[in-house]
């Protein structure tokens, strides 16, 4: 943009890489939390569908056992994947950014620099309350697409992380001034 903008060349190899990050796992109870939440949401959906079949399509009532069998058959692998997903989720906090990874098959690794965070929020849903888990939401400017949510944190960890991030952001601003 500007003519006298100095920018010492940096070799790509010298750049800190997110490839070698060591991810911290989520709280152990998150495994049970994700299984329970999958169970509840899928079960509600399936019960709704079964009720619809039972009351609307009268002639298919005799096959109800069969339908229930299919419903269970669908439910089991989903719960298994919910359990498995715990192992694939994790976060890594660096000095200037935070990385969150998730996904068993469709892997997603998102890195959000602290100087792009507008505000933070620690929240807890009703089910999370049961498992004593918290979610740290990091909001950026401009649409919700770039926001990052770190699930499955203990209260202590969520607070610590939030404090650390806001501290590093403030430090950065001070450096600039």
């Amino acid at each position: 943009m500007s003519m006298n903008f100095t920018n010492p060349q940096i070799s790509i190899d010298q750049l800190p890489s997110t490839a070698t990050l060591e991810y911290e796992p989520l709280e152990k109870s998150f495994e049970w939390y994700s299984m329970t939440s999958t169970l509840i949401s899928i079960l509600l959906l399936e019960i709704g569908l079964l009720c619809a079949i039972y009351f609307i399509a009268d002639e298919s009532r005799q096959y109800l056992i069969f339908f229930v069998f299919i419903a269970v058959l669908i439910l089991l692998p989903l719960i298994f994947f919910a359990k498995l997903s715990y192992k694939y989720e994790g976060y890594a906090v660096r000095q200037r950014d935070i990385t969150y990874k998730s996904g068993i098959f469709f892997k997603v690794i998102t890195t959000l620099p602290y100087n792009r965070i507008q505000h933070m929020e620690i929240s807890q849903g009703p089910l999370e309350k049961l498992f004593k888990l918290y979610t740290l939401s990091l909001f950026t400017a401009g649409g919700s697409g770039s926001d990052v949510q770190v699930h499955g944190l203990s209260q202590e960890k969520a607070n610590d992380m939030k404090a650390y991030i806001s501290e590093s952001t403030v430090k950065k601003v001070d450096e600039e001034k």
């Binding site: 943009m1 500007s2 003519m3 006298n4 920018n7 940096i10 790509i12 750049l15 800190p16 890489s17 997110t18 490839a19 200037r96 950014d97 098959f105 469709f106 892997k107 997603v108 690794i109 998102t110 890195t111 959000l112 620099p113 100087n115 792009r116 507008q118 505000h119 909001f139 950026t140 400017a141 401009g142 649409g143 919700s144 697409g145 770039s146 926001d147 990052v148 600039e176």
Partner: protein
């Protein structure tokens, strides 16, 4: 700007606002109650006491007018001394919205016919918070609106002025970058959406002929061609040709009229450090975005626009809403020279697009083909089960999809330099995005099992006005890109919104 100017005092909107509010409320009530009222009036028992219904409607109207007046009265706005735009509104409980100037991404004016008659404008102020923080004044005096706009846009934080101190040319400048004349406007109207409507016509025409074939139309065509003058077949063919002709003609005309109405007297201007886009015949819209708030610059054309050497230039600024149309300034009918001008203004004199671009993996094409065969298999399955009839159209669509994917993959390529990421694309046309690295919000690496098998990944970069993504590139390349972009963001001191 003197701080004792009238815009710093709490003021109401133009009285026209009350009128608009009356119209709006009538519309709301009408859409909600039209069906019960009509059914009530048609009831024979009510018919004798119809004046009660009329009385009710009059009372409602009085209530609406009263409500609108109160709303108008209770809606005030002003600019505060500590550089905030403040709106106070609410009939029963008043709420106060205050938007700091430096958070404002764009200031838009909109004028429909009524606005134009009374010399007022609708003023919209867009911010980029995650929560919807937008203010809109539906009718204020045009001179006042202009004054507010100039105050908001000329405001800049002390921090930014220090950083941009080398750019001394802070003279009040105002000049037109691009103006769409009537002839070009007609060209734009003809080329815009022409491809999609043409495709629709082909598909529709094909379907009609296909269906007619199945009911024995083929024989009559054959007879007709054979010279056996079958009067019925003759009239049928002529009829279809005429209908298709009319259809094509109407779609062209509709496109043309729509383009003329929305883009009439389109003009892109540069005022100080903002871009101003104005357009529209009945509904005149003027959007203004500050240069420092601009997130990406891109342009594209379709096949027809390509022949006429016209492009659509898109300047995106950050916005709280994710709707892409809303937070972009779309300039139609520009040529390469205009784009160069805008690029020079935005990115400096020494800016140039690199020559060498890297392509994306051919595996993307194979994967898309595989995905496209799934619905085809389903379709053939349904034919086999005799749920559907076979139509040649399916093969035609599949072939078209293959062609589309081929060009999509072939044309997708990217390049990166110290400050920008460039992504080229397009299927039958051409598109190019320039993404300044300092506007990126977060970097996401994605990979499916198929991609991991082939050591590929997709990189997705979110910025304040949406996201850009490069699909199916080498995993190591994606990792290097991600690390480099993160490094650039983290050392960046530029204001990015």
């Amino acid at each position: 700007m003197k701080k004792n100017s009238s815009i710093y005092k709490s003021a109401r909107q133009s009285a026209i606002y009350g009128l608009f509010e009356v119209f709006r409320l009538i519309k709301v009530f009408a859409t909600a109650f039209i069906i019960p009222i009509v059914s009530l009036l048609r009831d024979s028992r009510v018919a004798s006491k119809v004046y009660y219904v009329h009385l009710g409607m009059i009372l409602l109207l009085i209530f609406i007018i009263f409500f609108a007046i109160v709303k108008y009265w209770r809606f005030t706005y002003y600019l505060s001394v500590d550089n905030e735009f403040i709106v106070e509104e609410g009939v029963f409980s008043r709420s106060k919205i205050s938007i700091p100037f430096d958070r404002i991404q764009s200031v838009d004016f909109e004028q429909n016919l009524i606005h134009q008659i009374f010399g007022v404008v609708k003023l919209k102020i867009d911010t980029a918070g995650s929560k919807n923080e937008e203010a809109s004044l539906r009718a204020i005096d045009i001179n006042k609106a202009k004054l507010i706009k100039s105050v908001i846009l000329s405001y800049s934080k002390d921090v930014t002025t220090v950083e941009e101190s080398e750019e001394v040319e802070k003279v009040e400048t105002e000049h037109t970058i691009f103006q769409l004349d009537t002839f070009s406007l007609v060209k734009v109207g003809l080329t815009k959406n022409v491809f999609s409507s043409l495709l629709l016509i082909i598909a529709l025409g094909y379907q009609i002929i296909d269906n007619l074939n199945q009911v024995g139309f083929k024989d009559s065509v054959k007879n007709y061609i054979d010279g056996a003058t079958n009067e019925i077949a003759k009239t049928d063919t002529i009829f279809i040709v005429i209908v298709l002709g009319i259809f094509i003609f109407i779609s062209f005309i509709v496109n043309l009229i729509r383009a003329v109405i929305t883009h009439f007297e389109l003009r892109l201007e540069r005022q100080n450090d903002s871009f101003v886009l104005s357009q529209g015949l009945f509904n005149r819209r003027i959007s203004t975005a500050k240069e420092s708030k601009i997130q990406t610059l891109s342009w594209n054309n379709n096949l027809f626009e390509g022949f006429l050497k016209m492009n659509e230039l898109v300047i995106k600024h950050a916005s709280a809403s994710e709707a892409t149309k809303k937070n972009s300034m779309i300039v139609l009918g520009v040529n390469k020279m205009h784009i160069q001008t805008v690029m020079t203004m935005l990115f400096g004199k020494h800016f140039s697009i690199p020559q060498e671009f890297s392509s994306v993996s051919r595996k993307l094409f194979y994967r898309l083909i595989l995905l496209a065969t799934l619905p085809l298999c389903l379709y053939f399955g349904l034919i086999y089960l005799k749920v559907l009839f076979y139509s040649n159209l399916s093969i035609f669509i599949f072939g078209f999809a293959v062609l589309t994917f081929h060009y999509y993959q072939k044309k997708k390529c990217f390049a990166i330099d110290n400050d920008f990421l460039y992504i080229k694309g397009g299927v039958f046309g051409y598109s190019q995005v320039i993404l300044p690295l300092h506007t990126v919000n977060n970097v996401t690496l994605k990979s499916t099992p198929y991609q991991r098998q082939n050591n590929l990944a997709t990189i997705k970069l979110y910025h304040g006005a949406g996201f850009e993504s490069i699909p199916y590139i080498d995993f190591s390349t994606a990792q290097i890109l991600a690390d480099f972009i993160l490094y650039k963001i983290e050392i960046s001191k530029k204001v990015w919104m």
